[in-house]
């Protein structure tokens, strides 16, 4: 059978963000693929050098709209380490609360997108409706649905009282009931399983070769979760499990992310009920003494790394960002090999790409 090359993207109904692929197919089967990123490359690492540390909090938040809070968390954590600041416990609890709420939001959004791509529009509508609960809570806390501007260097700028905490807890209970429905669907619905089992398989060895992180790695049996293995913020004080699966396919990734959402809900409960009293921030000097730091957080998609070098001025000498999507992008040629063209949207959705993060 002769080979045909099909270009997909950068604008395509199967893709949420601009990225382009060249798929070489024999009949319905993909034999080779190449991908091109960079359509969303805004040159952020250069922009960071032209702004001061405080302005950069605002810019860092806009590397990616979906995981904006964990970006500012990783960045502020790094700068706070360079400044030798001790962030007050109440601030760390609030920071962690937003991290976990963002994870719930990201996973629900992702589940809806996957569902839409495999034709399960009902599940898409339900998950996106229920993620509004999370967005409402984040908006009440911070004033923003998607960009929250919660983190400042030295702590956080928002607070909540006991009544508000109770109101959030009640809504988390409501959300958990909904999510349990989704988990049951994913576990038992036969058409969902038929579309996702065995698709986009990655072995643990492939995960290690490409240094893959996050739910995609955990779905292939690689037991790494930075919140447990290198705790930051207040993760050392929370009880939670890292969710691991062995099948390594899109179904396993769905199970991992769904169960992670339930774990995150439980962590939010712990954070809200154990929230300590105290100040929200410490004063941060504008100039940062010379030094370097590597700051890592477990973003919804995996290990997010910021390397920052300071030179004594009020601007960073270098900010390097490595987002988790870069690792999963490198596995795509392997994942797409021998896959039917009809399964391409499923494979692409299964890895939860965030191209804005990858391109920066």
């Amino acid at each position: 059978m002769s080979r045909i090359t099909i270009p997909i993207g950068p604008q395509h109904p199967a893709l949420k963000e601009p990225i382009s692929f060249l798929l070489t197919v024999e009949g319905e089967r993909i034999v080779e693929s190449a991908l091109r990123i960079g359509y969303v490359h805004r040159g952020l690492e250069r922009i960071f050098q032209d702004r001061n540390y405080v302005q950069n909090v605002h810019v860092v938040e806009r590397v990616c709209g979906i995981c904006s809070h964990v970006h500012t968390t990783t960045y502020c954590q790094g700068v706070e380490a360079l400044l030798g600041l001790e962030v007050p416990p109440r601030a760390l609890y609030i920071r962690t609360l937003l991290c976990e709420m963002e994870r719930i939001h990201s996973h629900l959004l992702w589940l809806g997108v996957l569902a839409e791509h495999i034709g399960f529009t009902t599940l898409f509508m339900y998950t996106w409706r229920d993620r509004e609960i999370v967005l409402d809570v984040m908006e009440e806390l911070s004033g923003g649905r998607v960009a929250h501007a919660v983190n400042i260097i030295g702590g956080v700028r928002i607070d909540l009282d006991r009544d508000h905490a109770h109101s959030i807890l009640a809504r988390l209970d409501e959300l958990e009931r909904q999510i349990e429905v989704f988990v049951r669907i994913v576990q038992h619905e036969r058409t969902f399983q038929a579309r996702t089992r065995g698709v986009g398989h990655l072995s643990a060895e492939q995960v290690r070769r490409y240094c893959v992180v996050g739910p995609v790695a955990r779905a292939s049996g690689v037991d790494v979760d930075l919140r447990r293995d290198a705790p930051y913020a207040v993760y050392d004080r929370l009880k939670f499990r890292a969710i691991i699966a062995q099948e390594g396919d899109v179904w396993a990734r769905t199970m991992v992310r769904s169960m992670e959402t339930i774990e995150s809900l439980e962590m939010c409960r712990q954070l809200l009920t154990e929230l300590p009293e105290g100040p929200l921030a410490v004063r941060a000097p504008r100039r940062v003494p010379p030094g370097e730091v590597v700051s890592r957080c477990e973003a919804p998609r995996g290990e997010l790394v910021y390397y920052i070098r300071s030179d004594g001025s009020d601007r960073p000498a270098r900010v390097k960002v490595r987002t988790p999507t870069l690792t999963t992008l490198m596995t795509l040629p392997d994942q797409l090999r021998d896959v039917n063209t009809a399964d391409v949207p499923t494979v692409l959705s299964g890895v939860d790409l965030c191209i804005a993060c990858a391109d920066r």
Binding site: G38, H41, R209, E292, V294, V305, R318, M330
Partner: protein, 142 residues
């Protein structure tokens, strides 16, 4: 990761390299190697210590030289630092040892003009195909 054992192995394997281990936040150890020994050191880290997770490669134009930082992680962080001359920044690729280094080397190549010898796919990753203004993170590029 057992940092002490790793440092000892590096001292034994590369006695003429500066090393000068330092700790830096957050829970990170940094050592300095010469460019020729970077790849053999990584090879040793993989075979003797099973250290395979490369978080990323940071490239910095310090004005005097091009610094490359290879950030490894296994419960703790280990960064290998090496410096290349600005006019001729070349170093051996790691992609056959760690396929996951592919994108990081491509990015350092296009942003700082580093040549990774042996890397078979050094096309631009993020920059447009018609980019002609020089590596954007080099100091002389505006």
């Amino acid at each position: 990761m057992n940092v002490d054992l790793i440092l000892e192995a590096l001292r034994e394997g590369f006695p003429t390299d500066p090393l000068e281990p330092q700790t830096m936040p957050i829970d990170e150890t940094i050592v300095t190697l010469t460019p020729e020994n970077l790849r053999p050191a990584v090879q040793m880290l993989i075979t003797r210590f099973g250290l395979r997770h490369l978080s990323t490669i940071t490239g910095i134009d310090t004005g005097d030289e091009i610094e490359l930082l290879y950030h490894f992680w296994d419960r703790q962080g280990l960064t290998l630092r090496t410096s290349l001359p600005r006019e001729d920044a070349r170093i051996a690729t790691l992609t056959d040892l760690i396929p996951g280094a592919a994108f990081y080397e491509r990015e350092a190549a296009e942003m700082l003009g580093v040549v990774f010898e042996g890397h078979t796919g050094l096309d631009t990753l993020l920059l447009p195909d018609d980019w002609d203004s020089g590596p954007p993170l080099r100091k002389e590029v505006e």
